[in-house]
């Protein structure tokens, strides 16, 4: 509200350095001052993010137990990562989770944002608040509440659904339903965040474009397809990246609700990292797994960046 709203400028690279006029200071002085401002953050990030990343790469080529015993074994950990059936299942589970989570959360968020975008919608701010509240609830607490709601004996939601003729049974013990259940909890917790971001994106679309489309005889679907969606592509890219990365890193509610079960059906990549690193203390192997996660995240970000980056250019030209 008080802040400027730099939609069009947001993704542009900063202005060329030469274009800036500085009133005072020699280049050397500016360099020294800049690094002084940067030093605390760079030390923290260097020590606690970059260094562990390098360390993990080294460890991923080792047979390491975490008690100082380390032995170089080349690519053996990676070979195991790509051949072990348990790991293959965990990767497939993570992908399945991503496929279930991303469209559900993004479509729910977008649909609700479209509904609540009109300033004439009654109770707008109540709905907006209600939909965002789950975002401040932790995954762990969300998992407790949903587990109770779908408890086969005393779960309120199970009971109500039974009244409607839907028999859910013991959802968290059911190999087919356990994954959708943990995904549901994630959708519940996170869609409100995506919803708010979509709302902001929608508000940046000039009303005049809709007017023009309407004059040309475009119906609601055509306006959505030809005005809203293309102009929302930046926001969509941001939300998709966030949603997919969140899905790749799924852990908390699974740890609480199923512990990876039943029979490993909700075992994800991060669950595997946690288990091999902190339960089995197979640190070399856990590090190799970590790198698989890291590279998957990087590839995803890059693909989206390239895809949507090009699209944005098409639009602005």
């Amino acid at each position: 509200m008080t802040a400027p709203n730099p939609t069009a400028r947001r993704y542009r690279p900063p202005a060329p350095l030469g274009g800036r006029r500085r009133a005072t200071g020699s280049p050397a002085g500016r360099n020294a001052r800049a690094w002084a401002f940067l030093a605390p953050a760079l030390i923290i990030i260097g020590l606690f993010t970059v260094w562990p990343m390098i360390s993990a790469l080294r460890l991923s080529f080792m047979d390491a137990s975490g008690f100082g015993r380390e032995e170089f074994i080349g690519l053996e950990n990676y070979v195991t990562v790509f051949t072990d059936p348990d790991i293959r299942d965990a990767v497939l589970n993570t992908l399945w989770y991503t496929v279930l989570f991303t469209p559900t959360a993004v479509i729910a968020a977008l649909a609700l944002a479209l509904l609540l975008n009109s300033p004439r919608m009654p109770f707008r701010s109540f709905f907006r608040t209600a939909l965002f509240v789950p975002f401040v609830v932790s995954f762990a607490v969300a998992a407790f509440a949903w587990s109770y709601l779908i408890d086969p004996q005393v779960g309120l939601l199970n009971y109500w659904l039974r009244g409607l003729g839907i028999q859910l049974g013991n959802v968290l013990e059911d190999p087919d339903l356990a994954m959708p259940a943990v995904v549901l909890v994630a959708v519940w917790k996170l869609f409100g965040f995506y919803f708010v971001i979509f709302l902001a994106g929608l508000q940046d679309i000039p009303a005049s474009l809709y007017e023009a489309a309407r004059m040309d005889g475009a119906g609601p679907w055509s306006r959505f397809r030809n005005v809203t969606l293309p102009l929302l592509s930046n926001t969509m890219a941001f939300v998709l990246i966030f949603a997919m990365i969140a899905a790749l890193q799924a852990f908390d509610q699974i740890y609480v609700m199923t512990g990876g079960g039943p029979y490993g059906h909700t075992q994800t990549l991060v669950m595997e990292i946690y288990e091999s690193g902190f339960r089995k203390l197979d640190i070399g192997f856990a590090s190799a797994l970590s790198y698989v996660l890291l590279i998957a995240t990087l590839i995803l970000s890059l693909v989206q960046f390239l895809f949507f980056g090009r699209k944005e250019k098409d639009l602005s030209s």
């Binding site: 509200m1 008080t2 802040a3 400027p4 709203n5 730099p6 947001r10 005072t24 001052r33 800049a34 401002f37 940067l38 953050a41 923290i44 606690f48 993010t49 260094w51 562990p52 990343m53 460890l59 975490g66 649909a111 609700l112 509904l115 919608m121 009654p122 109540f126 939909l131 965002f132 509240v133 789950p134 401040v136 609830v137 762990a140 607490v141 969300a142 407790f144 509440a145 709601l149 004996q153 005393v154 779960g155 309120l156 971001i197 994106g201 309407r214 609601p220 930046n234 941001f238 890193q249 852990f251 908390d252 991060v270 990292i273 946690y274 690193g277 902190f278 640190i283 790198y291 995240t297």
Partner: protein, 282 residues
Amino acid sequence: MSAPTHRTRPGTTPGTVLAVIALVAVSAVVLLPIAIIVFTAFKPVAEVNAYPPSLLPDAWTLDNVREVTSELPFLRLVGNSFLFAGGVTAFALVFDSLAAYALARIDFAGRKVLLVAIIATLMIPFQATLIPLYQLVADLGWVNTYAGLIAPRAADAFGIFFLRQFFLSLPRDVDAAARIDGASEFRVFRSVVLPNAVPALLTLGLFTFVNNWNDLLWPLVFTTDADMGTITSGLTLLTGPSGIVPHGVMMAGSLIAILPLVIAFLLIQRRFIENIATTGLK
């Protein structure tokens, strides 16, 4: 999806009525888990496990709250949560805004390269560095300490990037004027840029606080002593080894865990949502 804009004439249209009905239904489902936490926390055990289940308690009781506070060092855990989430937030705001200021407002050699490097670390999932990070923290002797919980998160790439975007959008005439008057760089930062960045700082601060308060994996890894956990990680200890979950106690604990955040959010929700929307976080 029902059509929100059947007719665009002002006044209530069938489309609006349908939309409101849909929104009421969705909101009810969304708020159901919150309602179950609040009401179950005050239900007697017999009702918690009764069939058929009900949403509201017949008789209200504080037994669950009493039990959860006796089974866990509750005050201690809530205090830890405040120290951990608050500590991370305070440090991160200071260090991130200093770094963001340099990246947005000082022309120095290597700025572009550094910015790209920082954006690259943004994509590193913390789970991927967890094991060597744990070893590092253990080598420093910081497992089960506040330092171990807080220090690794005392600055982060996301916060730096977020604040840099915001600082770029602030007008530059005032700081140029201040510099001509002989103000030091730090003075410009503190007296010119920071006061204008309050909405961004508030949003980032809340974000950081909520995320850390709610984090499960982090305290699970860096604390092994039950007294050093947070309320979020402490609650998972309640699920007994038998797998039998005392739902009432669980919900009472959950209520205490979410109460500070929900109240804070409701108090400032308008600004918070709007700030997320307008400070470039999209």
